[in-house]
């Protein structure tokens, strides 16, 4: 299994002013990626910016893979400018994966903004089983909605500005849903990826309802291989590396 290889850009599509979907080629012998894992991607040639950027696997394609990303800083701006056939170095897949739910369990998947990229392959793998709670700032940041509907039992949307779905916070939507299902609360298990504050809120909901939440954590990362010890999160049993023991953690473990 080769986890360090050169990819070619096959397609780099703008989803809106600050979100892109990039399709990369994958050579024979590259490792198989599982939902929740990530790649470190070279965004330029030369030394500035220096480090690779971490992106969750969004989708596997027959001869490659896709990453969905938010254009936020220098690295993602450079990645957005990548053209078809441009070559870039890729390290991955890295990290652990979302645990597979048991047959009786009903996964509730919570995505905040670009967090949808990480949970998307999980929904694909467990087609028809999950309910999706997808929160964004504004309706123009909702992507792949038709596909989400096709892969899940239901999709709940919330937006900060009320332009689509429920106005407000997606964790409140989740909480209300769970309140209405308190009779068989035990069958639910949460899977979440999004901003730190959202994950913290999901963790709180899980604790109050006595259910399990698997969350995808994020930290500044240099190597992606567990060597630099830069990307740690504080857990009840000490610091753990997001790139190695994570990115998926049981929310119970995290010291917020």
């Amino acid at each position: 299994m080769n986890r360090y290889f050169t990819s070619r850009v096959k397609e780099n599509t703008s989803l809106n002013a600050y979100h892109n979907l990039i399709t990369l080629s994958m050579p024979d012998g590259a490792g198989e990626a599982f939902p929740g894992q990530f790649y470190m991607i070279e965004v330029n040639r030369g030394n500035d910016p220096l480090l690779k950027r971490a992106f969750s696997l969004f989708r596997k394609t027959p001869d490659g893979f896709q990453l969905m990303f938010r254009i936020k800083g220098r690295g993602t701006t450079l990645l957005k400018e990548m053209k078809k056939d441009d070559a870039l170095e890729v390290l991955g897949p890295l990290g652990n994966r979302y645990p597979v739910p048991s047959e009786e369990q009903v996964p509730l998947v919570i995505a905040g903004g670009i967090g949808i990229a990480s949970v998307f392959p999980f929904l694909h793998e467990h087609r028809g089983r999950a309910l999706v709670f997808y929160g964004v700032r504004s309706g123009d940041e909702i992507f792949v909605l038709d596909e989400l509907k096709g892969m899940s039992r239901d999709v709940f949307i919330s937006t900060d500005d009320g332009s689509m779905g429920t106005k407000g916070n997606i964790v409140d939507v989740l909480n209300n849903y769970l309140d209405s299902k308190s009779a068989d609360i035990g069958k639910y298990v949460l899977y979440a990826c999004g901003p730190y504050t959202m994950l913290k809120a999901v963790s709180k909901v899980a604790a109050s309802k006595g259910i399990t939440a698997y969350i995808s954590m994020e930290e500044s990362m240099a190597c992606g291989l567990g060597a630099c010890l830069g990307c740690v999160v504080k857990t009840k049993t000490g610091y753990k590396r997001v790139c190695k023991e994570g990115p998926i953690f049981n929310s119970e473990e995290i010291v917020w």
Partner: protein, 303 residues
């Protein structure tokens, strides 16, 4: 073609080493690097007792470099010997253990524990890590203290003893001389340079620990200058490091005065960096008709 170099009593098969803290305990990179091909593996810095390290954010990227403030997180010497040495022992490379302490007694106790452990070939003393909360860079910035701590450790170990120097001093050549006089077999030049970055929107430091150590190509010219100055001042070998990204950089350090080089931040950018650097150095020797890498050391032409 001879790539062999000597560092104290250690004979390295080639001058390419890893820089402490950038290569874990070796196993993290074994998938990408043939450890048998490395001159030496220098492992992540160890202390007597395990250390938890600093809060996050611990790293921040800066122009052509990065600041880190990991806080010397490590599993402690005992666990290292039990869990990591058996893995490292399998490979035909020299294993050099980087270590540090909070007091002279701790340095000495650490060195004693690491001495006479099968599979450990040499020691590198970190007297320069700028991340310590108690006593900011004390050991590496005061010549009298440096002398005291290096002599104390020297008395307790027969292993090749390398002292990793702090660049956060006025005269690094003087510090190298002090380490040599205290019995060091070699010096590593340089550790990271203390730096700081601020988020101008929040006005908060971008590292939780406020300051951090700058590494990467941004510091390379400073490191080359310091290797050059140290080489003039001491007879013991100099290990050059600081922003080496490719074989050209490595050769530049050797010409400046380094006997061996250590690859650090480059491992984060390209996990195969050490292998590519070794191949590139061999290629350079071929092209320039250099039969012995040692003959290149300190050959900078300043006339």
């Amino acid at each position: 073609m001879n790539l062999e170099v000597c560092i104290g009593r250690l004979k390295l098969k080639n001058p390419v080493m890893t820089a402490s803290g950038t290569f874990g305990y070796g196993e993290e990179y074994a998938e990408f690097v043939d450890l048998n091909r490395l001159g030496a593996v220098v492992v992540k810095g160890l202390s007597l007792m395990p250390k938890e390290g600093n809060p996050t954010p611990r790293i921040v990227e800066t122009p052509s470099g990065m600041l880190n403030s990991i806080g010397l997180q490590n599993i402690g010497i005992e666990r290292f010997i039990k869990e990591k040495v058996p893995f490292l022992k399998q490979f035909d490379t020299s294993v050099i253990v980087n270590f540090f302490g909070d007091s002279i007694d701790e340095y000495v106790a650490a060195a004693e524990k690491l001495d006479h452990v099968a599979g450990i070939d040499g020691l590198e003393m970190n007297i320069s890590c700028p991340n310590k909360q108690a006593g900011w860079s004390i050991f590496g910035t005061d010549p009298l203290v440096t002398h005291k701590v290096v002599s104390a450790v020297r008395k307790k170990t027969e292993l090749t003893l390398i002292v990793k120097l702090s660049p956060n001093v006025t005269d690094i050549a003087l510090m190298a001389k002090v380490a040599e006089d205290a019995g060091a077999d070699a010096v590593s030049v340089i550790n990271t340079i203390t730096g700081m970055a601020i988020d101008i929107r929040t006005r908060k430091p971008r590292l939780a620990n406020i300051r951090g150590g700058l590494s990467g190509p941004a510091i390379k010219p400073i490191a080359v200058r310091m290797v050059y100055e140290v080489k003039q001042a001491v007879k013991i070998p100099v290990i050059g490091l600081g922003g080496i990204m490719n074989s050209d950089d490595a050769i530049e350090f050797i010409i400046a005065g380094a006997t061996a080089v250590a690859v650090g931040t480059a491992n984060f950018v390209n996990p195969k960096a050490t292998m590519e650097i070794l191949d590139g150095m061999t290629e350079y020797m071929k092209i320039h008709g250099i039969k012995d890498i040692g003959s290149l050391t300190g050959t900078v032409n300043v006339t």
